[in-house]
Symmetry: C2
Subunit: 319 residues, 2 copies
């Protein structure tokens, strides 16, 4: 099994660094300013509309690097596989990883595999860790967020969470996950708007509501959002109504919350909309004063409501 | 559960980079020449004589960085935990990770946790990935190995594998694992002997025999070892005889195979023996010609035998 996995790795993911097959990879980085992240993926089911655990494992880690202004460069790939896992599935997952790496311009440079007996692991778990090189002209962080800043999102929310639950429960919504590496959207954006982009975060587990709450917890302002300006597809709204979920709390895997200087807000949205990954981009709110560390939503009927932090994601194992 | 884990992480592993709690860590590296590695740990049982999965997860990754001449700097830590996992065990494991990091002078700078239902994961799986900075004056690699080079090991083999099997099966050998980060042994050694150290590898899964076979597969020489010169404790020999295992194939987690220029062999051994982690160090063989890509052992009675590569480790889930 280990031999077979090694062959699959090399055939699909091979590159001069990985091919050396040492226990660690030697890298020559473009700069000493790096970003580093890790994520384990336990999503269930492994395959879902428009994506799978392999694509997700690349997108999740690549996007985490991007959120700190890192150009994604190198990935590690570690698999925990149950012993009777179908080889055809494994091959499909590895090919999906290879394709996603090619698109995001990252390379798998080091890996590891553990095989466990069939009662010890639920199919396959994947860990990817990533190294990126910081874009020099940017500075992102909570400390850069200020009153009046625009809060922008690059497109329709909640489709990943709904896609997973629908695939898991065999519901017939057929909603595609938004799972995607955002490298081709974020890097040009940061190069174009430089220090006018103040903060980035991907609203994954717990959805947009959780990300906005994490932001207000870390700054001294409030966030006011306009509910009707939040892009979400009719299909997702319909599915959420039937299932009893709030789209604001559903996971995304190809979305980014951008906090930008209000003076560039319109230009940022115009710029995002030119890219396929940002075609439904829009401003959803702003950084404000007067409500403490709270996320406040203007509802479609004009009243205000507090958007709370939930305990965890409403759907388990969405990533 | 996630909140609790976050608190445990910060309380025990906190440092200025981790405390920022961003999805990735920002690093300023000492150099652009880095090494990068990943390992998932699924060892069973989680606790065994003198170590546990936490200490192992640090030692395994730290040692992989050292083997390429990297000074270990940063670790990522990703946990997959089953939902009813005892908090007291988790705390014990995190404290063990913290202690091991302190000893090896590495910091956990980014992390992730996934909780899965009780039938989906066997207690806890841990992934650590690591970044190290290359020691400038060294050059390690298969390409540097040449005829006549000495093959040295830093101490008694096979104790990790025997310790795990003994703890798992409730046997009463009470053999301690050799699980240890080798930072305090390897870094001074490389600084002292620089380019006279040609190659390093830690003989983990599959033991010393597997590591020696991996070496001959990658070079154009043979390896001749002298079986009686291989350090191994009487207790381990006794246990292996009873269990029907060959110590040459049993895993180690605190050992290193050093290929050094023959002119410095004696000095290297003297140097190693001054360190607690190298007190049983000795030369076990040399790089030679004449037997092809084979590992040949001189037996205690003077005959020669081929030391083959096994398929995988004789004991599953030893790391």
């Amino acid at each position: 099994m280990n031999e077979l996995i090694r062959e699959l790795f090399l055939k699909n993911l091979g590159n001069p660094i990985l091919d050396r097959l040492t226990d660690a990879a030697e890298l020559e980085l473009d700069s000493r300013n790096a970003v580093f992240t890790t994520d384990s993926f336990v999503v269930k089911p492994l395959f879902f509309p428009k994506a799978d655990i392999g694509k997700l494992a690349v997108a999740g880690t690549v996007n985490d690097l991007l959120m700190l202004g890192g150009i994604p460069k190198y990935l590690s790939l570690s698999l925990i596989i149950q012993e009777n896992f179908p080889i055809a599935w494994l091959e499909r997952i590895i090919k999906s990883i290879a394709k996603a790496c090619g698109k995001a311009l990252v390379r798998v440079v080091t890996g590891d595999t553990k095989v466990v007996d069939r009662n010890s692991c639920d199919g396959i778990f994947i860990n990817t860790s990533g190294i990126g090189i910081k874009l020099p002209a940017t500075e992102l962080g909570f400390r850069r967020i200020k009153e009046g800043d625009a809060i922008i999102i690059n497109g329709n929310i909640a489709s990943h969470g709904v896609s997973i639950i629908s695939a898991r429960e065999n519901l017939k919504f057929n909603i595609a996950s938004d799972c995607e590496s955002l490298e081709s959207l974020i890097i040009p954006l940061l190069k174009e708007f430089k220090r006018d982009i103040h903060f980035l975060r991907d609203p994954t587990r717990g959805g947009l509501a959780t990300t906005l709450n994490e932001i207000v917890q870390a700054i001294k302002y409030s966030i006011i959002i306009d509910e009707k300006s939040i892009p979400v597809s009719k299909e997702v709204i319909y599915a959420c109504e039937l299932l009893g979920f709030d789209p604001l709390y559903m996971a995304n895997e190809g979305k980014v919350v951008i906090v930008a200087d209000e003076t560039v807000s319109k230009d940022v949205i115009k710029y995002l909309r030119r890219n396929k990954l940002g075609k439904n981009a829009g401003q959803i709110g702003k950084i404000a004063k007067g409500f403490g560390k709270k996320v406040i939503a203007k509802t479609p009927i004009g009243s205000l409501r507090i958007i709370d932090m939930h305990e965890g994601d409403p759907v388990p194992r969405i990533c």
